[in-house]
Amino acid sequence: MTAAGDTARPPRGSRDEVVLAVRDLGKYFPIREGALQKVVGHIKAVDGVSFDIAPGQTVGLVGESGCGKTTLGRCVAGLSEPTNGGVYFGLETATKERLDSLLSVTERTASQESELEQLDNRHRVDRMNGDAWRRYRRNCQVVFQESFASLNPRQLVKDIVGRPLRVHREASGSQLTERVVELLAQVGLGRQHLYRFPHQFSGGQRQRISIARALALDPELVILDEPTSALDVSVQAQILNLLHELQQERHLAYLFITHDLSVVRHMADRIVVMYVGRVAEAGPTEVIFDRPQHPYTEALLASSPDVDAHTVDLQALEGAIPDPALPPQGCRFHTRCAVATPTCGWEVDDVVRWLEDVEGTFDTLRGVTRMSPFDAWLSFEDEAAAASLAATLRSEAIPQAMRTALEELTVDARRVRVRFTPVDEVQLTVRGSEHVAACVLDRA
């Protein structure tokens, strides 16, 4: 199918273009408390994420529940305004490089500032001027996991799929109906389905309707948030085949969000692994699966069941996902990492977490006075409790790496001072062609 009625757009899929560039994206949700709803902190759902999507490419976004995948997807779709950084759309490679060099300057001159502002007006999703915004809205569409929730139960299929065409004044009357039939045919449905309601379809069929609606304006990028998670494998196979076929025909780019690693391995060209709001590792699919560099990626792979696998053993990742309102220092994964080193970000909170997990000990803690995230006085109910904590912190019960990072451990009556070596947030480093990981270890 061709993009009927749309000639103004530049030819798509030129090598010189990135469909989407996400730069240092942050999305914080305020935590409010008390009668006055005072903001007491922020949930950093997405915190400093950058990646690109090229035309016709599928980028897979994986990570545990709550790591920020949907929030990121909503920011990319323009449904949610970023707190920091931005989402850039329709950049040519040269412009993107210019943008990156401008963004890397910490103290920009006035002329650099105005150049950046011009770029923002044309390409940054939350700053775009009218024309650019309209172009973006047409070209970026979303398919959600819960097709039931996203399809209006009181609307007929014809109206659901035809709505974007009507809103953008692409078609009306009998022409609209014909366009809808054409779209339905593309997703394996037909004219006989025009006058039915969403509840009259199976889960797989509803997902096809969502896809037809997303394709109505012939977008360049489709964000798929867990598009098959609610479906059976046999139906999932149909939808994945369909998505691939449509991508081939229309040179679509996909941002494919899923927690199913076998699906993402099958569909994605590149994979971005997220952990507590940040990118832990990103790279080509085969590299991520065959030579992962980040221990979190490894753990994720090891805990995922795979029919191909010859071993039946699953390796479970221990420990809880950290609270995104209080992300761990250094490397956010250090609280669960099996190979953590002394420089991975050991901090006062690790001591507090440890106290919480051990029966009875947390109740003896009276207060924490912090000088920094790495340095604090912990006060206890009595001297015995303080002494026993200090003894434990020196013992095998605590990971060797954490003990090494503990620079000072002083007991003063009912108080204990713990001071760890301060470290900066672990940054992404290049591990190979198009491959980055945020880990202090280099295991190449």
């Binding site: 545990e64 529940s65 199976s202 889960g203 797989g204 059976d232 494998v233 046999s234 139906v235 999932q236 196979a237 149909q238 994945l240 085949n241 691939h244 076929e245 081939q248 927690h259 199913d260 690693l261 076998s262 699906v263 391995r265 099958h266 569909m267 753990a299 994720l300 805990s303 995922s304 069941p305 795979d306 029919v307 191909d308 039946v312 699953l314 390796q315 479970a316 990742l317 221990e318 809880a320 996902i321 919480e356 997990d357 051990v358 029966e359 009875g360 947390f362």
Partner: protein
Amino acid sequence: MTLVGSDGPAPPALAPAPVASVVDLRVHFRSKAGIVHAVDGVSFDIADGETLGLVGETGCGKSVTARSFLRLVPMPPGIQAGGSILFRPHRTCETCSGNGCAVCHESGRVPDACATCEGAGCETCAGSGYLTVDLLEIPEQDLRTIRGNRIAMIFQDPGKALNPALSIRDQLAEVFYQHRSAELLAAAAIDGEAGGPAGTLIRRKAALRSRLLEDALLSLPPLRARRNKLRAAADDRIVAALAETQIPNPRKVMDRYPHELSGGMRQRVMIAQALACDPDLLIADEPTTALDVTVQARILELVRELQSRHRTSVLYISHDLSLVRRVCDRVAVMYAGRIAEVAPAEQIFSDPSHPYTRGLLAAIPATSHERGRLVAISGTVPELINPTPACRFAGRCPFEAPVCRALEPEPKPTRDGHQVACFIHHPPRDAADGVPTFDRQVR
């Protein structure tokens, strides 16, 4: 009828009998369009101490089968259209105190002897010689002593199964008060002691039958001390049950409410609740479907570990074949209300024999599949309204032959421990013209 710790005759040294046998189970639903044959002639055994997987697509009848064990299918609209679910309650083997010996076939548990034939084998016990009850027939009151005690169930959505208004302590306390009140009273050392109205009150409390007014009486000084002892005894058991599921700091978790816990934690609470009374059979209906892979892996490991420690038999329901492979000894594949194939877990993957099983395996994205080339099963699950006698997979099966539309295949053994309901494996003698084979693909 007493099911627990009855002092009947010593168990006969018979062959091990399955802990449960589903025999030709039929559960239908009345709907506007007609009768939905949701479960339509399902039979399988769950051997003592094994984990049996039950897999199949949405709506194939897995949950209805599972819920039938405890008569949790709403009737109406449900109709019990036939069949039976035989269950053999067990008790700890006296010879080895549950450690496993020759008498109990290393399972640590022994079934009670059949009351009718005292072990000789008769009709009531299906020839096994063991105490056997039909879960679909026994009076509601007997079922209540089995539910949560001998058979426990965990569900897909722990949020819905836990009572949001009760703390974790109260959710679990209920199980102990209901099924272990004698034990609690003994532990609190108030069993023999109190006669009179005070004793009655405490006993009613322990059995969870006290009313609001009685609770008020119990919180007054003369009775309070005893009530507190009872509570402490229950608390100890609750903490132990939670600790077994590796919940960190169970004494703290105990005072929380379900909404304050993560999905993985809630699922652990459910498992603790289910295993609290050391049941003979645990039914897990998609216990990890709502969870992350990492949490799922931990829950699976936990179920597997507790299963081997308690030697509980498990019916593990999932729509995910790759997952079932990780936990199950045998797998039953269900399709449209019937069993398509039953086999040891490894054989399901190395030698899938039913065309539907093959289809399911081929649909899972694997490294060997080229993108866009997943082998989807064509068509959709058939309507289960008044089905005609025919193979339920006909219409979607690539190997279908005329006979498949004329007769209904029954599960029959193809080799040791492997049963398949398909005419490719069991061609009917009088249908020479149209017998299906794997060599002839029709779609």
